[in-house]
Symmetry: C2
Subunit: 439 residues, 2 copies
Amino acid sequence: MRPVRVGLLGIGTVGGGTFTVLRRNQEEIRRRAGRGIEIAMVADLNADLARQVVGDAAQIVSDARQVIANPDIDVVVELIGGYGVAKALVLEAIAAGKHVVTANKALLAVHGTEIFAAARAKGVIVAFEAAVAGGIPIIKSLREGLTANQIQWVAGIINGTTNFILSEMRDKGLDFDVVLKEAQRLGYAEADPTFDIEGVDAAHKATLLSAIAFGIPVQFDKAHVEGITKLSATDIKYAEQLGYRIKLLGIARRRDSGIELRTHPTLVPMRRLIANVEGAMNAVLVQGDAVGTTMYYGKGAGAEPTASAVVADLVDIARLIDAAPEARVPHLAFQPDSMSALPILPLDEVITSFYLRLRVADKAGVLAKLTGILAEQGISIDAVIQREADEVSGEGNQTDLIILTHDTKEGSMNQALAAMQALPTVLAPIVRLRKEELA
Amino acid sequence: MRPVRVGLLGIGTVGGGTFTVLRRNQEEIRRRAGRGIEIAMVADLNADLARQVVGDAAQIVSDARQVIANPDIDVVVELIGGYGVAKALVLEAIAAGKHVVTANKALLAVHGTEIFAAARAKGVIVAFEAAVAGGIPIIKSLREGLTANQIQWVAGIINGTTNFILSEMRDKGLDFDVVLKEAQRLGYAEADPTFDIEGVDAAHKATLLSAIAFGIPVQFDKAHVEGITKLSATDIKYAEQLGYRIKLLGIARRRDSGIELRTHPTLVPMRRLIANVEGAMNAVLVQGDAVGTTMYYGKGAGAEPTASAVVADLVDIARLIDAAPEARVPHLAFQPDSMSALPILPLDEVITSFYLRLRVADKAGVLAKLTGILAEQGISIDAVIQREADEVSGEGNQTDLIILTHDTKEGSMNQALAAMQALPTVLAPIVRLRKEELA
């Protein structure tokens, strides 16, 4: 069989990795796929850079539209990133009848519905294993490996930058700002780290996972997005003393009334494997009603791990390129006419347990007052830990009070927090973190 | 589209689980597969039991050959187990043009070459996700998710019974025999646990993993198989003190000259996630040249976790049943005309590091003698720990000496062991365990 011909848009980190892996392992890949996979064209605004990477192995152009217009190209690999030109090019490639492979989670989490509909109408595949958790085959596992299950929840460490920062904060007892600078120096965080540290990148990926787990459309606009910038070394330390680690988790959970979709720092029991995923590594937990808990672990970023996912998608396409559409796995795991109507729940409806840290006056009756407020909202308490009081000059004794709650609705917690914060004996803004047992 | 019609051979634990999962999640499965999957016939020697499980939902027969002969059946699911009748039935089903799904690792590890060749000749699929690590989609991940990679090694906890026993031995400081009895009482070990505790079951699975990782034929007869029956609580304790856990690992590793295929108790650094996989859980590490290390974790046995894998195979078949053979993933990941000729290496050629425990006379010069013997064989030492001497009445002081080595060939270690064992100052049989860093 003739080889599958690929056009690469963007020859940066992942593009370079894809080129390298396809070249180095071409024989191994051909032995699996039954046909070769060749990068025939590369488009990059920096044609010199492209030439350095690619040499004479492929035609190099600066205009991506030349790739899309080339009738010999079977698959367009979009590695430009972002919502702008990438969106236009992906839609144009689809319109030209090309299959598309992309690592662009931002694009798919926001514009996925439009893009998948266009691909269906045109009868082409849009594959995106590389968009979530780098080289870990989590999209394939969820879409194909766990098809027997009603998925109950998915929870993942799906942003390596923030996991690196959190690991360092815990390990060295340092504050966020200090570790961020170190991460930037080491190349684990970008010069503008906003998307990572504010949780946006993880939320993009969680949005994609929610869609394929539950058969709902991608709805990034309804996701709760919370990063790690406000996290303090104090809470990491207290959590540790209580047997928990704090991880930035992307979570998608099925409830009877809808789907929770949220990304936020989360206390996780230390004895869970996922609590021990350190540094820039990624891991995704999937809970299915038949299989129970499964976990998928590996490198979530980097040139070759991401290329591993891009090339796996190319091999899938190489197998299916001549097959009838029924042989393909639907983009979002469920047949387009069988998507779920379950809504994304508003944050107030989300159910989780909480970690609260309160700076309170060390006086009799304070704890009774606080627990009374929680009881009024129907929130039951799992544990209360009072730290030793310390005297703050001129203001009497103060102490840190840590409260762990059982599961409650976020809305109830918000009301309780407002009431507690209004107490004169509560001396500083209350710190509130969510906690998941992941059992 | 009409539903895919399935005939089930054997309605024991996994058969019952498959029936239950397909019924409970039939709507979810249809929404994914695009067509229904129906169990139309069930064969079991115990027709009454079958009736209890299945009710009136499917035709029940006591003769499996009636299922195979039924032209309305598309897929035969073999859940009988063993090499005997199961082999005959699988080959007959293939000859009748049925696709086959099986959880039978013993059958495929020993007779896979014959079975896959028959399936190819007849143009049918033999799917076996359930044969390795229960509900964890490790076959799919290796065969399809990591196709970009030259796989370097695979190492897995792929037998839940032995992992439960090892976890209990470590946790409670108990000896093997005691824990085995407890495991049998709790249902974690069978009445005849030989296949599990002698490492045969794990070696069957490692054989299948080696084939799909490297594109070699299944060669169980060349696998090194070693169980946990001789493991003592003493070595688990010493390993722990040195920062290691002992796990029964199935290992397949690529070397330039061939493939290592071996199952044995293994010291693993405690800080690795896989060292913290406890109880009956399974986990498989895969190292690929592009992706780096990935891990897959979940329940490796049980009715519904195994059914999860069986049904995932059925969904794959439902998608591909009408597609050209080129659309299918080859049984052993590589195209049949592109298999590797790399031989399985004899055990003497296997390279690993070692843990040695020697009972020695507490005399000057003993250590020098021992390390001299290791040096003669070119074996370098990573660490030596001498325990406090204890006096054995009438025999002078004795002590336990623990030696950790760097990587060496098994053959060299065997020669060194023979020389050390012959020393009059070595007072008991030397304990030798293998150690893997899994970095």
